[in-house]
Every structure is written in structure tokens, then in C-alpha cells.
């Protein structure tokens, strides 16, 4: 039995439109970041790296891992338990790990230019590195073979255990040492009076929007792929059962 081409595709009209929106907004971000926005007084041109660094961090840490945690909770809660949430959690974590890796990489390059070192044991960096490894562990657990239900529940519990660790790690390393600048937007003092202004703020904002769109687009495809894989496995099982049954009827 084969899956018909139309149902085997992970794209639809909506995702195509979303994909184009993403491309356009990313292109706009690139133009804003590289051409229109000015070089920073202190950092020079290296500031342009931050237009990637901040949106990737936003996408990975807040959006992706937030969705993974929420989906895991919804999976564990009996009234909303469904395969949908498990696949959502897994797809989101994969995207999150990828973009957190990018965040660390871009951050390291920026740090080398600005601070003169690739890595420093500052609070934010350390927390992020631990977070990165925590979610790699989560993905490893997802890959451990077991029956689908066992696998899903185990993964959901690991996701929540990892999430519980995040604030503790955060406080621990925060006290340990801090060199990274404060949150640009989300600290209470800065919310009404952001440190950066004008074109720079707009570029950053556009970057965040573009990467959020990118997340949605990747998520739609990754989720559907997982869903199709799931269906394929079910179907293979069904085919095998039918064959055995046919044999039994013949003999």
C-alpha cells in the first residue's frame, strides 16, 4: 500500500503562503540589518550579528521550548492526552535545539570580536549551554525505542523535569558571575525605556517577527512529517496484520 502523493506532502496552501512571508521578512531583516541600520558607536559593525543572535535566541528559548513544555503538560494531562501534543513537543524541541545551537555559535563569534574570547563563563552563556544539553538529552530520550505510548509519556516527563531545572540553573549561574548585558527589552526598567532606539530597535523587532514566522513554517512541516511517519508505521503494522490474517484464512 502506498500513500498518495497529495497526502504525503507536508505543504499546503497555507504553508506556502507562510513560507513566502517568511522569506520576504527574512530578506527585509537582512537588508535592514546589513544596509540600512547604522554601525554601533561602541561595537562597530559587529552589532549586526545581534540582529540574528537575539531572534534565534528568542525562537529557541522562549517559543520552541515554551511550546515543548506546554505540549508535554497537555500530553500528560489525561483530558487532553493525544498523540498530537507528543509530536508537537518533539518537533518543537528539535527546532529549538537547532536554533539554540545557532544562537551559541553566533554569540561565540560576536563574543570573539567584542570581548576577545569565544566563550566566557558568564551567567547567561552558562545557563544557555546547560539548556542546550538538557534538550539534547530530551531528544535522545525521544529516540529510545519503546512502544509509542511509553515513549511519549517518558519524553513528556523528561521535558517537564528539564523545564523544572531551568529556573534553578538560571539563579545558580546568575549568582555565580555575570558579564552579559541585561535583557534588552524584558527587564522591568527597560521595558518603557529600551536601551536601543530608532532603526536598530526596528531591525531587531523585524528580526523577531521574521524568526517567529520561520518557526511557524518549520513547525508546520516538521510536525506533518512526524505525523506522516506515525501514520506510515501504523499502516505498515496494519498491512502486516492483514497479511497474517490472509494467510490464516487460506490455510
Amino acid at each position: 500500500m502506498t500513500i498518495s502523493p497529495s497526502s504525503a506532502s507536508t505543504s499546503s496552501r497555507t504553508t506556502t503562503i507562510l513560507g513566502w512571508l517568511t522569506v520576504v521578512s527574512l530578506a527585509l531583516t537582512a537588508v535592514m540589518a546589513l544596509v540600512i541600520s547604522p554601525a554601533d558607536v561602541n561595537m562597530g559593525d559587529s552589532v549586526r550579528l545581534l540582529y540574528l543572535h537575539v531572534p534565534t535566541a528568542w525562537l529557541a528559548m522562549y517559543v520552541s521550548f515554551g511550546v515543548t513544555t506546554l505540549a508535554s503538560v497537555l500530553y500528560l494531562w489525561k483530558r487532553t492526552r493525544s498523540r498530537f501534543w507528543d509530536l508537537t513537543a518533539g518537533a518543537s524541541a528539535e527546532i529549538g535545539v537547532l536554533f539554540l545551537g545557532l544562537t551559541l555559535l553566533i554569540g561565540a563569534i560576536w563574543g570573539r570580536i567584542t570581548w576577545g574570547v569565544w566563550w566566557t563563563w558568564d551567567a547567561r552563556l552558562t545557563t544557555t549551554a546547560v539548556l542546550f544539553v538538557l534538550y539534547i538529552g530530551y531528544l535522545a530520550v525521544r529516540k529510545v525505542p519503546a512502544s509509542p505510548e511509553v515513549q511519549s509519556r517518558r519524553a513528556a516527563i523528561v521535558a517537564i523535569a528539564a523545564f523544572l531545572d531551568v529556573p534553578i540553573v538560571h539563579f545558580a549561574v546568575e549568582w555565580w558571575r555575570t558579564l552579559h548585558q541585561d535583557a534588552t527589552f524584558l527587564s522591568d526598567r527597560r521595558l518603557l525605556d529600551p536601551q536601543i532606539g530608532g532603526t536598530m530597535a526596528w531591525t531587531l523587532f523585524l528580526g523577531v517577527v521574521a524568526f517567529t514566522l520561520l518557526y511557524c513554517w518549520l513547525m508546520a512541516h516538521r510536525f506533518r512529517l512526524a505525523w506522516l511517519e506515525d501514520r506510515l508505521a501504523d499502516r505498515a503494522m496494519q498491512v502486516a496484520i492483514d497479511e497474517r490474517r490472509a494467510e490464516a484464512v487460506q490455510s
Binding site: 546547560v130 544539553v133 538538557l134 539534547i136 538529552g137 535522545a140 530520550v141 529510545v144 519503546a146 505510548e149 511509553v150 509519556r153 517518558r154 516527563i157 523528561v158 517537564i160 523535569a161 528539564a162 523544572l164 531545572d165 534553578i168 540553573v169 539563579f171 545558580a172 549561574v173 549568582w175 555565580w176
Partner: protein, 231 residues
């Protein structure tokens, strides 16, 4: 069964399981013959790596101590679930009708007891080999208590997740070490503060260790039953 009886049963089951695990450990002597020597060996290897410079060993002492505890703790946790996988003892445990939370508390308690013993030996090792002088006993004791409970609780939760898998030996460290990162950090800093005679710097860390321990004990009590069902 009322909540009161339920709680009593939980503690009784915990004592039963802890007693069983500790008896198995005491009779197999794997802990004494292998884990403790391994821990001392790690202390010695650190000294080699750091060029046995006495001042450096003293200043790095707390960190090395806790790294050693963590690695040896991993072995203890793995042992705690290996004894369950022989002869399908885990199935027996599942069918025993013991309270899931009780089993968790028992297993974590047994691991914590072994770790505490190990910490005593390692403390002697640090004093003898690195020349560290003990100061601030109250803070050291509280740090050890909270860190040990936290280590054992978080380790037991992940131990059951990895138990019974072919990849458990490699999966467990990958899962546990990042989760334990704050324990390592906090315990090392608290011990440093105690040894340096500046306890004021250490108390926030001790508090953090207690918070960690409480969170993971609670999480284990809630999650262990379902996890055991499918391990």
C-alpha cells in the same frame, strides 16, 4: 484508604525498599570494593592532572570533591537499578503492590545513604591527599545533606527512565549531568565559603540546594509511579 493511612503506607514501603537496596549493596560489596576505590582514584587522578600543586588543590578542593561525588553518584544510581533488572526483579517490584512514591523514596534514600558514606570517605581523602582544613562544620553538613538528597532524588528519577534500556549506561549521564549542574555549582561554592570562613557567602547556595532537593523529591514522588509502570 484515608490520606493518613496512605502516607503511613508510603513511608513503610519506603523503609522496606531502602532496607532491601542497602542489604543487597552490603552483601554484594560492589559499593565498598569498586565505587569507593573509584572515587578515591578520581581524587588522585585530579591531583595528577593539576600537577599536585598544593595551593591549587586546596583552592580547587571543593569543586573536585563534588565532581567526584557526582561521578560516583552516577555509578551508585546505575547500581540501584541494575540490581532491579537482574532476575526480572523490577517486574516483581511492580507487582508487589508497594506504593510508587514509597518505592521512589526508598530507592532515593538508599542512594543518598550510600552517597553520604562516600562523602565521609572522600572528605577524609580530601583532607589527607589535598591538605584541606575543615572549617564551618554546620554549613558543610547542611550542604552535604541538601546536595546528597538532591543528587539522589534527581538521579533516581532519571535512573528509572534509563533503566532497562540497552543504552542506559550512556543515556543516564547525558540526562543527569546537566540537571545536576546547579547542584555541583551550589555545593562547591557553599563548601568554598565554609572552608574560607566566610559563611555569609555560602547561605544563598545552601538555600538553593534545599530548593533543588525539595523540587526533585516532590517531582519524584509524583512521577515515579507512572515511570515504574513502563520501565
Amino acid at each position: 484508604m484515608g490520606p493518613r493511612r496512605g502516607r503511613q503506607a508510603m513511608w513503610r514501603d519506603a523503609a522496606l525498599v531502602a532496607g532491601k537496596d542497602l542489604r543487597v549493596e552490603a552483601r554484594s560489596r560492589v559499593g565498598i570494593n569498586q565505587v569507593v576505590p573509584f572515587a578515591l582514584l578520581v581524587l588522585i587522578v585530579f591531583a595528577f592532572a593539576l600537577d599536585s600543586d598544593r595551593n591549587m588543590l586546596i583552592s580547587a578542593g571543593p569543586g573536585l570533591f563534588w565532581v567526584t561525588v557526582m561521578f560516583s553518584g552516577l555509578l551508585a544510581i546505575q547500581r540501584s537499578f541494575v540490581i532491579e533488572s537482574d532476575d526480572d526483579a523490577r517486574d516483581a517490584l511492580r507487582l508487589s503492590g508497594l506504593d510508587g512514591a514509597g518505592i521512589f523514596l526508598g530507592k532515593a534514600g538508599a542512594v543518598a545513604a550510600q552517597l553520604a558514606l562516600l562523602e565521609v570517605v572522600l572528605t577524609l581523602g580530601v583532607i589527607v591527599l589535598y591538605g584541606v582544613e575543615l572549617r564551618g562544620p554546620v554549613m558543610l553538613l547542611l550542604t552535604c545533606l541538601a546536595a546528597t538528597v538532591g543528587l539522589a532524588a534527581a538521579g533516581t528519577v532519571y535512573g528509572i527512565i534509563a533503566a532497562g534500556l540497552r543504552v542506559r549506561d550512556t543515556l543516564l549521564p547525558l540526562l543527569v549531568l546537566p540537571v545536576l549542574a546547579p547542584v555541583l555549582l551550589a555545593a562547591a561554592r557553599a563548601c568554598e565559603a565554609a572552608l574560607a570562613g566566610t559563611p555569609a557567602d555560602g547561605w544563598p547556595w545552601v538555600r538553593l540546594l534545599f530548593v533543588f532537593a525539595i523540587i526533585y523529591v516532590t517531582f519524584g514522588v509524583v512521577a515515579f509511579g507512572p515511570l515504574l509502570e513502563e520501565a
